[in-house]
Amino acid sequence: MVLSYYHFPKENPELRNEKVKERYKEEELCELWEDLLDDSLDFPSREHFISKWFGLRKFVILSPQTHACAIDTEGRAKILLSSISFALSQLNCPLPVLVQLDKARRRLFSGVAYPLSAVKTEFETVHLRRIPVRYQCAEGVIDLLKEGLASKCECYLSVRFTYSFSDWPQIMCDPLPEEDESDDGDDDDELSWRTIPWGACEEVISELHLAVQWPSLSQDLFVDTPSYSDLDPFNAPSWTARLRYEDDPQCLLATHLSQFQKLLSDSVRSILSATENSPDSNVTSVLDKLTEHSVPSIGTVVTKAATRLQVHAVNSPLTERMLKKLLAYIFPDVANSSEDTSEFQEENDFERRLKSAPPGGLLWRLAIALLNVNNSYGGSMAVNHLWHEIVLELRYRWDEGKVLPVEKEKEPDSATCLLQQKLQMLNCCIEHRLRRQHVVEEYNSPGEEEDDDEFFECAEESNDQQREANMIKAEGRLRKLAYQLHKVPGEYLYVPITQEPAPLTDDALEEQARVLASLGTDQTSLRARMQSACLLSDMQAFKAANPGCVLEDFVRWYSPRDLTESGCLSTRMQVEGNLWQETWNEAKPLPVRRQKRLFDDTKEAEKVLHWAASLNPSSLAREIAAVLLNICLVTACTNLSKNSLIDKLTTKIANLSRNTDWQITQFEEICRLFLSAEIYSARKKSIRTKLKHVQKDVSDDDIEKFANDLLDNQEVKINGAAKSHLGELIVRIFSAGSDDEERDDKVTTKLPPPIAKEYVARCEASKPSPNSKVVPHRIYALITGEECRIASVCSQDTAFF
């Protein structure tokens, strides 16, 4: 059994019911009385149902934990209640305790309280399919309340009728996005796979509820019997509206993302099983299938790269035509079309927070294509095929020296995701090699005049005859400094052309740091030596550019603070056998052109290509997930104005994108948030369409406000009830479904029969005998087509009976 205590504090605790205070003496007033007589607790919109049934603010519920221990016999219920009754009276505890009886879904409760000394209050619920007609109206409910009361009294009644509208005519619904179900994958509807899908696949608003309410009517002021009622909803003082929504509507992005999530959690297994299912497969071909793309043999690479767009994989769900279109979309420079990528050009502040890829860039297009290909064009097999083609395209680009349409001339940017960095790296390699080849070509072409590039100042190999006694011709000068050489007065110091250190992707940097750290803390000099390649290269270039130079000259350029004012080396540079001196002694005068390359573009490019080729659909999905979520976020932002959901999404996606070991559950959580965002945006769109259809006298601003109120609140009070513009608007919605629609100009003053009638009746009377104390009694009744529920609170004097 579970014991739960509930307390719904009053919004204004100061505001005590003055009337109640007047009527009761201080010692006879208790919290329970105040709550029972408080008509603001009639039909609350968001409190616990117990609160609503019994008019309670503070109570304890005792409920069975499992189905098995339900209190299903009257005997057990009685024992339990009398024990509680005994306990409460002994403890002088004024708190009502309610016990859940029978099966949980019937929501039957019985309870007891001792609010004052010698007063016992009993709580009862009745749940029936049907009750006699005479109890289905105010009169009947009052009769029930008065049963067993000893004194005459006046009853007060609050009434609420609920009307529902659900038969939305077609014209009031949004046209639903069609799900792209291309069976042959040969779809001309290109937009369907070039965009991020968004929106619900079905109507998201099921019902509009209108509740009309009369608060605390004296029983003498109206008549409500089975045969006649003068409770006219159009005269009710209070109207409230609320929306009911479809449960779990299907949404496009959410569906696509959950498919993508399957791809993420997919492993090699799925490819295996897919091929295994085809009848003519054997084990070796399965393995071929797996290994084919990850370790391409030279033969396949060469031929495939040559015919890279014509290749047609066996058993691929992607048709050749579709594949061509996809590749032309991802690599727009191939098709030579002026591809419009302005779609995502908008600047937003996500870029700094997410580790993703540049908006509208190659990876964005790839992510969009992968999402759609995975969802609609053949799942992980198709993704695998597409990626295989892309890797071939990458290799072709490298072989042919054609730069990729990613941000040019940029080193791997650690603010972007690893995949983007790898592509940037490949571009660096391509450009580096092109530059290198260009230099070699120019250098080798004879007869060509030296151009102004100082790099080629020494066109001829150093020739012994040209050498002066101890002067070598300077090579590879970049610019002159305003200092003269230490040992050669009159000669100026030149900054040499230097090699740039190799660019690094995140994983390479991590590896480098790991290697350096793994040496241990004492290996400072070894670490320095490992990193001295760049220093050596610079020293060599410097020597070549400044014949006759000494270490002092180098330090003047490289580390000026290590030169004292008198031009001597600093103490630390003079330490015997330090790395700087050692390297200086080692360095031969060599311009960068003849040095060992610090950046081996061939090796690095092969590394990138190998890495890319070894990605299977699942690992590819993982690498591109952050980019995809970034695009989805931008899409969500264009469909939803900034709200807390977007903020939450941004944070979650930022966390995922920055964490290389993110979990599938993180992705799942983000998908759920996207679903909520999608549903919210669909609801908003839907209610707007519906309201606009019956707009008439209401301004656009009011429609907008009303739509937002309905979405963000449980219930919206209609100020002015039936007489207001909004009230008329609601009536027009209700009449929109009926045949009277033609008579649109005349507002139909008709509502369908209510789907639910609720009554709260209360009175103050003595019980069980006329001499007993006068105490409050309250009854709540709900009557719908399917069920009737009555909840009563009855108190009696236990001293005078």
């Binding site: 509930y6 650690s414 230097t498 750290a517 760049c534 490289y558 580390s559 630390r572 330490v575």
Partner: protein
């Protein structure tokens, strides 16, 4: 943020957090000496000018936690900027150091800050350190100039001397505290980590059943 995995170097694998810190600043402001003073409690004027990047490890006890510090020492020369800035992203804290006897190194502070803002993560912490404050006769940068600059940058400031072991330990401990505080803050503000403890009273429970209003 806090990595629980250790590197192979340290014999001591027993720690709660590992923080990566980076010491940056112009060449010969005393970064290596400062680190040696802290990690090994030694001082010499003749440390070889750092080539590329080097590191030391120290485990300390702060805020009831064993914190292992992996402190990376960087070369200050302009030429090493690209190499060293690559390491910024992995660091949680920065000691930005200048030399109180060298105005140029002080003037470069803004530049270093820009480098950090460009390359490091958004939630990193920085402390400004004016080193060599034992050389009072050669001082070129006043303490209040350092203080003012730090205030402008919104970071904390200390003057130190690696030679006389003044404030060295304090600076590191302060930086660790700042990082710890930041970490606790971000834990607190994450609703997932804040478990819903205690009794299920009041409004928490109200929303659930109320959804199925009206027909009940």
């Amino acid at each position: 943020m806090a990595s629980m995995s250790g590197t192979n170097d340290a014999a001591d694998q027993n720690f709660d957090y590992m923080f990566k810190l980076l010491i940056i600043g112009n060449s010969s402001v005393g970064k290596t000496s400062f680190l040696f003073r802290y990690a090994d409690d030694k001082f010499t004027q003749a440390f070889v000018s750092t080539v590329g990047i080097d590191f030391k490890v120290k485990t300390i006890f702060r805020q009831d936690k064993r914190v292992k510090l992996q402190i990376w020492d960087t070369a200050g020369q302009e030429r090493y900027r690209t190499i060293t800035t690559a390491y910024y992203r992995g660091a949680m804290g920065f000691l930005l150091m200048y030399d109180v006897t060298n105005e140029e190194s002080f003037n470069a502070v803004q530049d270093w800050i820009t480098q950090v803002e460009t390359h490091a993560l958004a939630n990193k912490s920085i402390i400004l350190v004016g080193n060599k404050n034992d050389l009072n006769l050669e001082r070129r940068v006043l303490r209040r100039d350092g203080e003012r600059l730090a205030a402008e940058l919104g970071i904390e400031f200390f003057e130190t001397s690696a030679k006389e072991n003044h404030n060295v330990k304090l600076v590191f401990e302060r930086l660790v505290d700042i990082i710890c505080d930041k970490m606790n803050e971000s834990l607190d503000s994450d609703p997932v980590i804040m478990s819903q403890k205690g009794t299920h009273l009041s409004n928490d429970t109200a929303s659930g059943p109320a959804n199925s209003n009206c027909q009940c």
